[in-house]
Symmetry: none
Subunit: 223 residues, 4 copies
DNA sequence: GATGAATGAGCCTTCATTCAT
DNA sequence: GATGAATGAAGGCTCATTCAT
């Protein structure tokens, strides 16, 4: 029917265009994880996305822009994820901190492929101001959120602890644990990593966090 | 003296070659820090080292080998540095842990240029097994040393703490603080970073480490 | 007419690509003849074909493949030529042998440029198995055809001659005469060369071939 | 002893120099046969001769000169060989022609390695005047010698044969049979090749050469 | 809107050659 | 006399990008 065609077609087109865009970004993520940043070529990306080579230049003005958009996609996805984790109603500050830790090691954001891409971008950041800007903004948001929570905990418990420093310590610990997954996937343990973070929190804020029980870590814990 | 000349001459030849090699590695480090991994070309490296382009392939069979040797140089330098820090006689286990923290934030190893290079290699590690191997070995050495120290502290103090996990937490925290220097150099503070680590240690091992005093962080602390 | 346009358009695209391919092969032949095998660079080839340098790698995966395809083009062209020469209806075996000799010295296949290219490939054959394979197959086809003809003549005439050896002798004589054209173009004579072959045939098969008349060779016979 | 040293040394030096030169030429021949003309580099040659790379440029002004001297060495060796074959006293013209055929298929000059080198030079001849000159001179000498012999035979036997053409036919046949050894070593037969030449001679000059007996060629005749 | 032939820039590498030792 | 570090030129190839279709 002409009417359906008229309303469906324009939608379909715009939709399809967006789908292709997302496919290209996904393919870029895959390629960076598999081949590294230096060996990620538009040829490989378009092959992964099953589209013609020149289509990449059609959707993104340049390779650089594809990369930036990929990084943006990554940060957006990450922000959405942790924000959702702490917006659950009825959560105390400490509960939210716990939720952040859980989110940071959730397989959806903390898997080897995505970590590899994060580190690939970080590795190139120093020489590419745009990357650094995007990374920094994402970082600052996450940092602020965490700092607000530690500040609340400090205030509640009357701890003699620098809340900002405490937050930074936790954040950095998480980043470092991600690196562990990247470089030594065999020795990475998802639950163990969370436990390390919680130990840190419990040590700093004993009246808000429970020291995790000493668990015999099972050999070959799945990452 | 003729003898000295006789011994100096043969040294000069081999020495000069080695000097050139080191210059090339240094130039590679500089280039990766300045231009990133992907845009580090042999042209840039040779230009930085003030030598002809083909000389690179004379000293190193391929670009890949130059990069691997550069990474190796980096790990060697790092290992030498922290090892020297903990071999000072008369140092307790806790003292050695403190020394490790100091070493990790010493400007000689913890400056933005070198951190950028570390992260550049880590960023490419997933897709280059050789890099990962070299990185992992270096990491394991450092981890083992640190774990031995935390185990000693745990034993001494009778703490109910998983020594391996405690060490891993510290190590990851340090890696994450390095990333802070890379991505947000403005907000990085050398002393503040050490303090965060020491807070972690003091919280876990209160009878071995003193909680650092709350210091008003000076605005714009120089990295 | 729209129909013609519709059929002409799709042809045009594929056609143009094929035309460019053939131009590149022709340019390769020219370059090998002019500059030799060792000094035939893709730069020279693309310049001769008036196309960009990278186009060569677009049509042929590598330089090596361009060379192989050039050799194949040569053998195909040669085979087509001599096959057509002996498929003329109503030709006796002896007549076909004569036709083969004529074909082998026809200016279209026996000119200094093409002979130079043949010898260039033969010169590299020993160290390049692919060339040898292609050359051998072409040779074997030609040899088989010729052997069948000599066998027929031997059977018809009841000659006490090894048909295979006779064919090989003729074939080798032709190859050697080609070399004469390559190395001593001044002393090469097209008709004289055919006469030498026919003398060989007439000496072996007197009842099938006429001994060519002794001709006063004109001085400086044009090749 | 000083005296012996004084007399032996200078001789030894010049000798050694010449020895090295010959080694380099031999290594060049080997390399061309093994790697082809295009892939024969001074590096490979010096490695084969077990000398330092820059020594080649010391003994020969340039690579080109090394190649020319190698070709000259080849032609000299060949000339010496066939000349010696026909200077045996008490040999008739026909006997000398037979001796030439024997020489041309003697393993010392007719083996796959040397044939490969001949063809390598011939393959490059068209674009390198120097090679062509050297080749042509060698060819002309051989041709003249053979023409003198066929002329003698023609005169002796009163044959109605063009002596020059007959010689050219034989020469070309030999060159072509060499190519057979190069391209189809499996089907090459040393004795069979001589027989083909002798059949040609016997067919042209029946009163001077005996038609070789029809021999059942053994399968897999050793080249 | 999407394809694919074509381009130009640039990279890694190799090679013949030189020069100081 | 011979070595080996060093050079400059050039070659093959890949890549991001454009343009006609």
């Amino acid at each position: 029917m002409p009417q359906r065609a008229a309303t469906a077609q324009p939608l379909k087109r715009a939709e399809k265009k967006e789908v292709t865009r997302q496919q290209l970004i996904a393919a870029t993520v895959d390629s960076i994880a598999a081949s590294g940043f230096a060996e990620t070529t538009l040829h490989k990306v378009s092959a992964r996305a099953n589209v013609s080579r020149s289509l990449v230049n059609f959707h993104f003005d340049s390779k650089e822009q594809l990369l930036v958009e990929t990084l943006r996609h990554l940060t957006d996805e990450y922000r959405t994820f942790w924000m959702k984790a702490i917006t659950r109603p009825g959560l105390s500050a400490a509960g939210k901190l716990n939720a952040l830790v859980d989110a940071d090691f959730h397989p959806q954001v903390c898997n080897r492929k995505k970590i590899a891409v994060w580190y690939a971008f970080w590795g190139e950041s120093k020489s590419r101001p745009t990357y650094m800007e995007v990374c920094e903004r994402a970082d600052r948001e996450f940092a602020s959120a965490m700092e607000r929570l530690t500040a609340e905990v400090v205030a509640e418990g009357g701890y003699a602890v620098d809340a900002v420093a405490a937050a930074k310590g936790l954040r950095c610990m998480i980043d470092g644990l991600w690196l562990e997954l990247l470089l030594s996937p065999a020795s990475f343990e998802r639950e163990g990593s969370k436990r390390i973070c919680r130990t840190y929190l419990a040590a700093l804020f004993p009246r808000h966090f429970e020291m995790p029980g000493q668990v015999e870590m099972p050999a070959g814990g799945a990452p």
